[in-house]
């Protein structure tokens, strides 16, 4: 029962944190473009406003699917983000392992995809096919690199892997070449997971008018956006705690069970997110779907396979 309570606490926490992180992301993005940018709490305003808007369900849409899908997407993403956060707070494994987290995070793009195509808008259909392609492109390397981690540490439990870093007193990504490759593959998959430039072709505004989101408005759009920022946060957090768990480095001075560890982890997540999501989104152009696909099968996939091979060799 304890785990349920912790999850209940982390749920709103994750909700707030992911919106806050999105605000910071937008601010930094604007500053890199020489602009002032929106206030950091802008995502909260957006969310509240969207919830107070009219609910429109297009006539062409199948309304039941159209309306339930955003709720599932948001819930799954937040839950996916809550599990690692809750595990760190509780200091034990809360609800399952890495595969479950990844599975939860994959639900949200699939749901949005279904919702978009149920809207009956042709742009939604194009968005569907693009998202499908991308899903295949990044899901495979992502899973393989998780596999590589599990081969190495013979565990898929999230908290065990985090603790390993404390035990060896080093960051996982630096511990072995196999893990470095896994970390690189994971990081490269992140922008595609959350559909940010240069891999946002499934929601490209100038090409297919936000793709799957084209018919969504009001609260539904708010939920979809929330799902997106939650998985954004979840992935950064996951990447940081799995591969770059900074408290491990300070373990000598600092007990990792402290709330301080959590804070440290969040700060690293923030910096990490800025460098892996915000900066690429600022300095790259959007790729075409074919180019992105090729990229994913060429670089992250190779990296993840190398990583598995190395971990089997024990490197």
């Amino acid at each position: 029962m304890n785990t349920v309570i912790i999850l209940l606490i982390t749920f709103p926490l994750v909700f707030l944190l992911s919106l806050l992180f999105e605000g910071i992301d937008r601010k930094v993005h604007a500053r890199m473009q020489k602009r002032i940018g929106p206030p950091i709490i802008q995502p909260f305003y957006d969310f509240v406003k969207l919830f107070n808007k009219e609910r429109i369900i297009p006539m062409t849409a199948s309304s039941r699917i159209f309306t339930t899908v955003p709720i599932i997407a948001a819930a799954a993403s937040i839950l996916g983000a809550s599990i690692p956060v809750a595990s760190l707070i509780a200091g034990s494994n809360v609800g399952g392992d890495l595969i479950i987290i990844l599975y939860l995070l994959t639900i949200s793009p699939i749901m949005v995809m279904i919702g978009g195509s149920s809207s009956g808008n042709p742009y939604g259909a194009v968005g569907f096919s693009r998202k499908m392609t991308m899903l295949i492109a990044y899901e495979v390397p992502m899973l393989i690199c998780i596999l590589s981690v599990s081969v190495n540490y013979t565990s898929l439990a999230y908290y065990d892997i985090v603790l390993t870093q404390v035990k060896i007193g080093s960051l996982l990504a630096l511990a072995r070449p196999s893990m470095a490759a896994a970390a690189a593959a994971f990081v490269l998959c992140m922008p595609a997971y959350t559909e940010t430039v240069p891999f946002d072709m499934s929601e490209a505004k100038t090409e297919i008018v936000h793709g799957s989101l084209v018919e969504y408005g009001g609260p539904y759009l708010g939920l979809v956006k929330l799902a997106k920022s939650a998985s954004n946060f979840a992935l950064s957090f996951l990447a940081v705690s799995l591969f770059f768990y900074t408290p491990a480095l300070l373990e000598r001075y600092f007990s990792p069970e402290l709330g301080g560890a959590m804070l440290l982890c969040l700060v690293t997540t923030l910096i990490f997110m800025v460098f892996t999501m915000t900066v690429p989104r600022t300095i790259f152009a959007r790729l075409k779907i074919g180019q992105a696909f090729k990229f994913y099968w060429l670089v992250p996939l190779t990296l993840s396979i190398i990583s598995v091979a190395l971990s089997i060799l024990g490197l």
């Binding site: 429109i56 009956g120 430039v197 505004k205 090409e207 008018v209 779907i289 074919g290």
Partner: protein, 405 residues
């Protein structure tokens, strides 16, 4: 709760062959144009282009106004090359009325012309960046563009509609302190133009532009495309060289025609970027040579009275290519007929061969690369379309409307 959605309903959602209506309201197209694109997955099978959403009946309106009113009306054919339109128009009038212009006013006309060309090219380069999802570059180029708009605002008093031309000259003079300012801004703009040129050679940018929207030399010749679109396909057309107007006959050694042979979106963008440098050179030359003298003749009312019945055509090289004005005056301060052939019309024709066979992701880039600003193109194309419509449907309605106004 429910919603009218008549047009999309008729689209059959079918995953192998899908008709995607693009526009008239579409975020990639700042102005209305309607492309109905038939696609199979991502590949484009067919394109139907439909224009006319911005048809405002300017040519007919011009026939009801006097010459000086028409001057400001043609300026509002379009906001991006307003100076080209007024130049085309007053040149035709000046030919009919045999009005001689002072050298200074001709030079000032060319000066604004080149500033406008730079403004327009920077505008398009920014839009290209925006289409490929490169927001930062869009922000940077448009920030540079503000510098030119500031110059416009200081010299003429408005950022977009400069109203620089008037019958028999120009309206605002350039004091030495302005010359200084223009020079100063030019240096800054040159620096950033170099920077933009570098960024456009970047790998991710090139990936999106190279080989996209190819219009080869023969097709370009056949479709009579003009301006940077033609020059990107290696066709050497430039009215400034071929039929010099304003001060260009004196400046013809100060610039060269930029040509590219790859004929894709990247070539067209390159042409525009390089033309920025040509324009900078031209402006420097103009400022150096700027002769003294008056900037306009006499009151426009007097001049307007002097213009006899007659007709003339004039050609100018607008930022997007050849712009033709045909003017027939009625000798009573008004017009019998005004006809404009704008660069976007021939260029839009080039879209179809460019688009067929490419991907959905390429549509915005290709469309943007010919720089279609529909404001002017819409007037002419709709003529026939409109006649068809009116004859079939509501001629009576049209007449009634005419009476009402």
């Amino acid at each position: 709760m429910t919603e009218k959605f008549d047009e999309v309903k008729e689209v059959k959602v079918d995953y192998t062959r899908l008709r995607v209506p693009l526009g008239p309201v579409h975020p990639a197209l700042k102005e209305p144009i309607s492309l109905t694109v038939t696609v199979r997955r991502e590949e484009i099978l067919d394109v139907v282009i439909r224009l006319g959403h911005v048809h405002r009946g300017i040519e007919a309106l011009a026939e009801t106004r006097n010459l000086i009113q028409t001057l400001y009306l043609v300026e509002r054919i379009c906001g991006i090359c307003s100076h080209s339109h007024t130049t085309g128009f007053v040149q035709a009038l000046e030919e009919i009325g045999e009005i001689e212009l002072s050298d200074r006013s001709l030079h000032l006309r060319s000066l604004i012309f080149e500033l406008e060309r730079m403004q327009s090219h920077l505008f398009l380069i920014g839009i290209m960046a925006y289409e490929i999802g490169f927001d930062t570059l869009f922000m940077f180029t448009w920030y540079e563009r503000e510098k030119i708009l500031d110059l416009f605002e200081e010299i003429t008093g408005n950022r977009i509609h400069h109203s620089m031309n008037t019958l028999g000259g120009v309206r605002w003079d350039l004091s030495p302190s302005f010359v200084e300012k223009v020079n100063c801004s030019l240096n800054k703009i040159e620096k950033s133009a170099k920077y933009i040129q570098e960024v456009f050679q970047d790998k991710t940018v090139e990936k999106r532009l190279c080989g996209v929207g190819v219009l080869d030399y023969d097709e370009a010749r056949e479709l009579c495309v003009v301006g940077p679109t033609a020059r990107g396909s290696g066709v050497k057309v430039d009215i400034r060289k071929a039929y010099p107007y304003a001060a260009y006959s004196e400046l013809k050694d100060d610039f060269s025609v930029v040509l590219r042979n790859t004929a894709d979106a990247q070539a067209r963008t390159q042409v525009r970027i390089l033309e920025l440098f040509e324009s900078i050179n031209l402006i420097r030359a103009i400022l150096e040579k700027l002769p003294d003298g008056p900037i306009y003749k006499e009151s426009v009312i007097k001049l307007m009275k002097k213009i006899p019945e007659g007709e003339a055509t004039s050609l100018v090289e607008a930022p997007r290519g050849e712009l033709l004005y045909f003017v027939r005056t009625n000798g009573k301060e008004g017009l019998w007929r005004l006809n404009v052939r704008t660069p976007t019309i021939p260029n839009v024709l080039g879209l179809k061969p460019m688009l067929i066979g490419s991907e959905i992701a390429d549509i915005p880039v290709t469309v943007a690369s010919i720089d279609p600003c529909m404001a002017c193109a819409n007037r002419i194309t709709v003529v026939d379309q409109d006649k068809r419509e009116t004859i079939v449907t509501d001629l009576k309605n049209l007449r009634n409307r005419g009476k009402k106004q």
